[in-house]
């Protein structure tokens, strides 16, 4: 039996029942990493010795019959924009290539407290700016399913690590689709819960009003397991919500096993997706097939209109760039991060440090955001985008008043080849149109695998109202049960 190919919840059961030891689990995953990661490049730093030490402690705990945390010794990967005291936190950038945070992110503390074992920090697009993990200062990550294509991004390392069985579960961040699109590209489940569900304390911000922590697992149950261990209000993060202190989501699995959650579920499909961003034909066929599954299981499908979706890509692009330009301002070479060796004046210190350490995509977005915030553009672009964002939220409120979930593809295209001809930024932002609206409106959303085209995975996005995370989890499980 290859331990690493088990689902996380299966692994957990075996560890608790002492069928396998936690140490065996960790050893098997480290071995996998040693065999595969030189090619895949999912990790920026590894935590092997500490992970093994921790696994022995957990075995000890289990042996003594002590209570064990929710994550019970499972190997976990953490995206490298999440602060950790013991491993450097680089954000995939030269700017922070040696940076060690003096504190742990709340999610890191929660993993530790829930007896999860942090295997390492995963690769990502520089400062989470990208959709292919190719903008990383530490080189691109390859898709374990087909090493010629990208794993998606920006949380490509975390998605690839789960897909390649190098960890059981992983953490990503999602500002416009950075968990859901790589989940879709790597054929696994990715959940971006509602805004305020998971603390962002210690998560290095890209765009504060859009940033979310998200999770990866091999199925919905896996993803839910880690979601349960992370969610909850955190007084260190004012944007986290007390609504997140709800009952554990994994309760869904214990309720009435095998129940058909899709029966009677009210599903909306926005016509704007079909009209405005037509997907690749073969990809679309996979989506239609998945919709049939919902229909057959008793879901009521309705085509709806979300009028402001047609502006979503532009609105996202403007707000995201503005907040990115703001969040990148602290990387000035003064108190931390890369500092140029040559400079005469303070201005030169800033210019040289930033010129040397930021990659092209970061510079592009800093420029775009600075433009959209300066002078009259602040009102014409940034403030107007914020207004349209409110209108988009209102559109969603209307849809969710009469529907449980919104369905779409996670990405309109298949995973593309590494180093393929680069799309212009605005084209690639258009691709975010399926995922970014959930960030703009703070909605919960999940990507779940629905099939393959030419051996490459296709994912479907299930979006729910804010703090209706349980609903999308039920939809995901319902779908999994229906196709099993």
């Amino acid at each position: 039996m290859d331990i690493t190919s088990l689902k996380a919840w299966e692994m957990k059961e075996k560890i608790i029942k002492k069928e396998i030891s936690c140490k065996e689990v960790i050893q098997a995953h480290i071995k996998k990493i040693e065999e595969e990661d030189s090619e895949i490049n999912a990790f920026i730093s590894l935590n092997k010795e500490e992970a093994l030490r921790k696994s022995e402690k957990i075995d000890e705990k289990i042996k003594k019959g002590e209570g064990i945390g929710l994550l019970s010794g499972l190997p976990i990967g953490i995206k490298d924009n999440i602060a950790s005291k013991d491993l450097k936190t680089t954000c995939g950038s030269k700017m922070l290539d040696k940076y060690i945070s003096p504190f742990n992110a709340t999610v890191v503390e929660k993993i530790i407290n829930n007896d999860g074992i942090i295997i390492g920090k995963t690769n990502m697009d520089e400062f989470a700016l990208g959709d292919s993990t190719e903008t990383s200062y530490f080189g691109p990550t390859k898709n374990p399913i087909n090493k010629n294509v990208v794993p998606g991004g920006s949380s490509g390392g975390s998605a690839a690590a789960v897909a390649a069985n190098m960890v059981a579960l992983s953490l990503g961040t999602d500002t416009g689709g950075s968990v859901r699109q790589p989940a879709s590209f790597c054929g696994i489940v990715g959940i971006k819960p509602s805004y305020g569900m998971i603390s962002r304390y210690g998560v290095i911000p890209m765009a504060d009003t859009l940033d979310h922590v998200g999770v990866f697992g091999r199925d919905v149950r896996d993803a839910t397991l880690i979601l349960d261990s992370l969610k909850g209000y955190d007084k260190k993060d004012s944007t986290s919500s007390k609504m997140s202190n709800s009952e554990a989501f994994s309760i869904v699995f214990e309720e009435d096993k095998g129940r058909n959650y899709l029966d009677g579920m009210k599903v909306a499909i926005p016509r704007e997706y079909i009209d405005l961003v037509p997907a690749d034909k073969k990809v679309q066929e996979q989506f239609d097939k998945a919709i049939k599954v919902f229909e057959k299981s008793g879901a009521k499908i309705e085509i709806v209109s979300i009028p402001h979706l047609k502006y979503a890509a532009e609105v996202y692009y403007i707000i995201m760039s503005c907040e990115v330009s703001s969040n990148m301002a602290r990387y000035d070479g003064i108190a931390f991060g890369h500092r140029a060796e040559e400079y005469e004046t303070l201005d030169e210190l800033y210019i040289n440090s930033r010129t040397e350490a930021f990659g092209k995509e970061a510079k592009t977005r800093i420029l775009a955001g600075t433009y959209a915030l300066t002078g009259s553009k602040n009102a014409e672009l940034y403030q107007k985008a914020m207004k349209v964002r409110r209108l988009l939220k209102e559109d969603y409120d209307k849809v969710f008043a009469s529907h449980d979930v919104v369905l779409s593809l996670s990405s309109k295209e298949l995973p593309f080849e590494l180093n393929s001809i680069k799309k212009t930024s605005i084209e690639s932002y258009k691709l975010n149109m399926y995922s970014a609206p959930a960030n703009l409106a703070g909605l919960c959303a999940m990507s779940i695998p629905i099939g393959e085209v030419d051996g490459l995975p296709v994912g479907m996005e299930i979006t729910g109202d804010r703090f209706k995370d349980r609903t999308i989890i039920k939809a995901g499980i319902g779908y999994e049960r229906a196709v099993l």
Partner: protein, 476 residues
């Protein structure tokens, strides 16, 4: 030609809350560099700001005391610029929606009470500090980073250095009354920038506004305004108007120096502070805060006028500082004569405080001592002039008036028998003055009184001496 000066002020006030605005670091002045810091006020990646409720409370107190309209929603924004003492590359502040809109303060001019309106008051965080070492290195101290500030922006409604000074006095007094700031300019807990221009009253022609920074005392504010008034008038008269400028007050040279032309200058690229969701402020909370405020200077002034029969001017001066007003009321507990006490405080006591550049509570004069002194004067135990000398002595030594009077033998001589000998001697030695007086020269009497006072070493009761001189000259 006549010119009118137009002055608006921007005042930064550090709030004296226990903790900084976004973290739990202590809010203290003077600690060793970089000992009051944490990831949040250092702007380390992943740290998050938590808006300190105490800051809101203090700010709202100030807003109420300055008669402003408190917003029911507190929203924070980011103001961007690069500077080494600004760790995040932006300052968290309030752009479009300040927590307090409008408001005003009244100042006492000799002839009238003038209302100075406020534009707005907003909340923001302070920056760190640069320290320039002897080796020409720039060192950074982030202890001040994240100290809560309110910025008070007035409308351009002051017309002289004196009005600006009176406004600042009133502002400082009010902030002290409500105990939200230490308001010490020398420690930077009160900082003031001046916007100034002049307008030709006949032609309506205006000079271009200049902003004056680096004003480290109220005295510097006054001097900089006076300097700028003249500079602006000269510019207008020479028809040489400039661009909008930011200037710096140079204390040593006693002049303002150009820092930068303002046109096309910094754009702060305001963006919402996404890490701090808007905070709702309920009317109930605002009302609750209102009830915790002490009696404000304006209300106290009205009460002093009503209960003690003081003039508007006197009541205004006495209530300018909380300590002074309390000193006044405390003194009245020992001597029930508000007019006498007010006159002495308004006169010699304030003059002495000004000379020594100290506040009443820093002086050696206690309310009891002043009252005892005034009782001696009122009961004719000592005369007015002696009283002034004793007051000076109290300021210098802190001794009680009784002790001073006794040790120096200053008790007034009001006994005719005792005085007769001195008066007679003075008259004997000044025959010519008697003749002069009899010939209608009234001044001669004053001279003779002076001679008696001198001979008695100031102790003679002057009214009595006057009377005796007239009687005794009559007899000659």
């Amino acid at each position: 030609m006549t010119y009118k000066t137009i002055i608006g002020l921007e005042i930064h006030v550090e709030l004296s809350t226990k903790h900084k605005i976004f973290c739990n670091c202590p809010n203290e002045f003077g600690a060793e560099a970089n000992t009051l810091v944490c990831p949040t006020c250092l702007g380390l990646p992943g740290s998050m700001p938590i808006l300190n409720k105490e800051v809101l409370e203090y700010a709202i107190k100030a807003g109420i005391a300055f008669n402003g309209k408190i917003s029911n929603l507190i929203k924070m924004d980011r103001k961007h610029y690069f500077y080494s003492d600004l760790p995040k590359g932006y300052q968290v502040s309030q752009a479009e929606v300040p927590f307090c809109d409008g408001g005003y303060l009244e100042i006492e001019l000799e002839s009238e009470t003038k209302k100075i309106n406020l534009e707005r008051i907003h909340i923001e965080e302070d920056t760190g500090k640069q320290i320039h070492s002897e080796e020409e290195e720039t060192l950074l101290d982030f202890n001040r980073s994240g100290v809560p500030l309110i910025e008070i922006v007035t409308k351009p409604e002051m017309n002289s250095a004196e009005e600006a000074k009176l406004f600042l006095d009133k502002l400082r007094a009010t902030l002290k009354y409500i105990e939200v700031s230490n308001v010490k300019m020398e420690e930077g807990s009160l900082r003031c920038d001046v916007n100034i221009n002049v307008v030709d009253s006949e032609t309506g022609k205006k000079s271009i506004i200049a902003e004056i920074k680096n004003l480290n005392s109220f005295r510097a504010v006054v001097k900089a305004i006076e300097f700028e008034e003249k500079r602006h008038i000269d510019l207008l008269e020479a028809d040489k108007n400039t661009e909008k400028e930011t200037r710096r007050w140079d204390e040593a040279k006693g002049e303002t120096i150009l820092m930068r032309k303002k046109a096309g200058a910094s754009d702060y690229r305001f963006v919402v502070e996404g890490a701090i969701p808007p905070v709702r402020i309920s009317d109930e909370w605002i009302e609750e805060i209102k009830t915790t405020l002490p009696e404000l200077p304006q209300d106290k002034k009205t009460r002093f006028m009503d209960s003690f029969g003081l003039s508007s001017y006197d009541a205004g001066v006495l209530t300018q500082s909380k300590d002074l007003s309390e000193f006044f009321e405390e003194t009245l507990k020992y001597i029930d004569d508000s007019k006498l006490v007010s006159n002495w405080i308004m006169g010699d006591v304030l003059r002495r405080l000004n000379d020594d550049e100290i506040e009443i509570q820093e002086s050696k004069l206690s309310p009891k001592a002043l009252a005892d002194l005034l009782l001696l004067v009122r009961d004719d135990k000592i005369n007015n002039n002696t009283g002034k000398k004793v007051l000076k002595e109290i300021f210098d030594t802190g001794n009680s008036p009784e002790k001073i009077v006794k040790e120096k033998g200053l008790i007034q001589i009001s006994d005719e028998g005792e005085l007769k000998k001195i008066v007679e001697e003075v008259l004997n030695n000044n025959e010519q003055s008697i003749i002069d007086f009899k010939n209608g020269k009234d001044r001669a009497l004053g001279f003779l009184v002076g001679q008696v006072m001198k001979a008695s070493r100031g102790k003679a009761n002057p009214q009595l001496v006057n009377k005796m001189l007239l009687e005794m000259m009559e007899e000659r």
